[in-house]
């Protein structure tokens, strides 16, 4: 239960960072010379990468096709839950 809560919190942090990156990315598509936005984008990207690395260490890869480590003992990519599967009234 406690472990689930920790996972949920870490995931929500990644979702927030990733959302900032998506939104800045779209802004930069139409304002590619805005250096302030570009600095923010680069900063958020590096924090996002670090945060994802922590999550993946605990819960397995978020990315496939060689973009995340597959794990040591078994290929953790196949592990549930997949994002839409409900855990205690919740979808990850």
């Amino acid at each position: 239960m406690n472990c689930d809560h920790q996972r949920e919190q870490l995931l929500e942090r990644i979702q927030a960072l990733s959302f900032s990156a998506v939104d800045l990315n779209l802004y930069l598509d139409t304002h590619p010379c805005d250096l302030r936005a570009l600095t923010d984008y680069n900063q958020i990207s590096s924090v996002l990468l670090q945060t994802k690395a922590i999550y993946e260490q605990l819960y397995g890869p978020m990315l496939n096709f060689g973009l995340s480590s597959g794990g040591c003992d078994s290929f953790r990519w196949v592990e549930e839950p997949w994002p839409w599967q409900i855990g205690a009234g919740r979808v990850y």
Partner: protein, 190 residues
């Protein structure tokens, strides 16, 4: 190529089984102004966009729409999984159930299947960008109607977030239209 990120773009929770609401929400999965139509429209138009910026915008928004499609699927999945046959019948979802059980299929709220005729790819970037701006407004309106129909605050929370994304996409397509217009005008000067 594309890469799958094993997370939802926005957290999804539902308060409980609610096939009646699922039947409405599914239109944003496979309806005329839904996320599949949005994604495929931008991703197929991008090949003939004239500039790096416009290609980037259509690629990135088209990709974000795929993430929204997954969010809508998660909502429909969550709202139907625990539903009883009685609830499904009461919700008028029995026709859908006969064809698909509780599987996800690309239909609107009345069961009409998705069709490529919902979208256009015209080759004229000015025309295509106008279509995309209209598409974002149609999606925004649909989310507003769904918010009116929703009786689950957890679902409403997600619908409000999706609605906001349509507003941002409309803004970005507007900026892209100005940029492409300027680019085309500059090419007319010899």
């Amino acid at each position: 190529m594309w890469v799958y990120d094993k997370k939802l773009q926005f957290p999804v929770r539902v308060s409980g089984p609610n096939p009646k609401l699922a039947k409405s929400v599914i239109t944003q999965y496979g309806g005329p102004d839904g996320e599949l139509a949005a994604s495929l429209r931008y991703l197929t138009q991008r090949y003939t966009m004239p500039t790096g910026r416009s290609i980037a915008t259509l690629t990135d928004i088209g990709t974000e729409e795929l993430a929204h499609m997954e969010i809508v699927a998660a909502l429909v999945y969550g709202l139907t999984q625990g539903a009883s046959i009685e609830q499904i019948k009461a919700a008028g979802m029995d026709g859908y159930y006969a064809d698909h059980d509780k599987a996800l299929y690309f239909v609107n709220g009345d069961g009409v299947p998705w069709t490529a005729s919902y979208i256009q790819s015209k080759g004229d970037p000015i025309t295509d960008l106008h279509e995309n701006m209209a598409a974002e407004q149609k999606a925004r309106s649909t989310y507003e109607y769904l918010i009116q129909l929703s009786d689950d605050p957890e679902v409403t929370r997600v619908l409000c977030w999706l609605r906001e994304r349509e507003v941002v996409h409309f803004q970005r397509f507007g900026e892209t239209l100005n940029h492409v217009q300027e680019y085309l005008d500059s090419r007319k000067v010899f």
